[in-house]
Amino acid sequence: MSEAKTVLRLENISLSFGGVKALTNISFDVKEHEIRSIIGPNGAGKSSMLNVINGVYHPQQGTIYFRDKVRQKMDPTQAARQGIARTFQNIALFKGMTVLDNIMTGRNTKMHSNFLMNALWWGPARNEEILNRRKVEEVIDFLEIQHIRKTPVGKLSYGLQKRVELARALAAEPSLLLLDEPMAGMNVEEKQDMCRFILEVNQQYGVTIVLIEHDMGVVMDISDRVVVLDYGKKIGDGLPADLMKNPDVISAYLGTNH
């Protein structure tokens, strides 16, 4: 890990909504190819953290270095174009569309033909469509969801929807992947699959992953390093094994129902 170079560095980030503090100067870094987990009780500011990273929220204080460049105020779209993809805590699929179309939207950053070409289904536009369809099909094959390809996402089970959301994120071929509780509300089998996929994404495609997850077992198994948040403050950071010993962490998190 140590010699791997840093992809993302956050320095004393503070974020508040109309006076309510969500995050108080939090600093940590994410290294190339690692699985970096963020844990903490509900309302610890985990999701806000992700929202800061991909520019949905703009912290009042602190600086974000992405690939060694200080990141100015940016919106999610730019983040996406820089190779940051994510999934959401409560599924954010496009309910009105099929699985295939949902995943296709993930390719959007890769598609450049303008609407005029699209309108005439012109050579370049059509070829682009086909090219990206193929890419998407590879993702579908990778996540083993061929059988629901043309199903409207609304009709799918919760577990499958989560998987489709991951597919949509992967379709963008991200270099940094933010996963917000990808296994929440899944049964054992689904969790096993999801773990397998996350690990493969990380190992096969060398995607750096920032993971929020409640299932401590999973976190300890698959993550390289873990950040622990509590009430918007960082109370621990390090290797999973070490954190198990950290008293603050135990009291704040492991001690509680999890």
Binding site: F17, S47, N51, V56, Y57, F88, Q89, A92
Partner: protein, 304 residues
Amino acid sequence: MLFFTEIVISGIFSGLMYALVALGFVLIFKASGVFNFAQGAMIYCAALAVVGLIDIGLPMWLAVIGSFVFMVFIGFGTQRFMLSKLVNQPPITLFMATIGLSFFLDGLGPILFGSDVRPINLGIVDEPIQSIMDNTGIGISKFDLTASGIIILLVIVLTLLFQYTKIGRALRAVADDHQAALSIGIPLKNIWTIVWCIAGFVALIAGLLWGSRNGVQFALSLTALKALPVLILGGFTSVPGAIIGGIIIGVSEKLAEIYIPPVLQDAFGGNFGGIESWFAYVFALVFLLFRPEGLFGEKHIDRV
């Protein structure tokens, strides 16, 4: 200068009229989150009901009561047959439903009470008040003054109602958070029905005033749309906002009507009257670009 003041004053008066309409929107939106496009149609219906009942020989006061009853019916009907079937639909759907409702009412009113244009006589003459005229030289119509008086009175009554009665508290609770309201056992449906009735009452007042000003006609239904820009300024949820927004719109509109056409005339020649038809909307539109949340509304962050 004098001329200017007069315009401003008349602007304020007409603004208050808009505000009155806007009030109806606000009430319903606050309580049920429904953007009631049909408010204008309700005004039209209310006014029609009054004149219609007078036509069949009822005295004014009875006609008004009758009209109110009619509005209550509409309120119940809307709740029973429309809104209760559209719970948990996206607001835009409800909005479109109310457009449907406005068409329905625009049709229903005339069928029941006749469609030909008729005046309402409130017994207040529309002439300047001499005393003021003499002292300041500014003409202020008795009618306008009384009308505004009524409006302000209405606002005060409503405010008190909201503040100090059980229903009022319930209403505010609902406005803040539906789920919470439900959980503490406030029967949403009834609340909403009540609100619709109150809105109906406001519409009735508006109908009377507008009607006696320019006679009861379909145009009412459209003129009422002016309340929309007012709402955008004042925000959908604030009663004072409605008043102030109304006044702003009213005044600016009048001023525009007076001062812009000549300019255009010099530029292009021809007649450029009738600016009121759009000024309010464009004004609101431009305003939106700078303050989407309105004068008093607060910014909200959508969580992900």
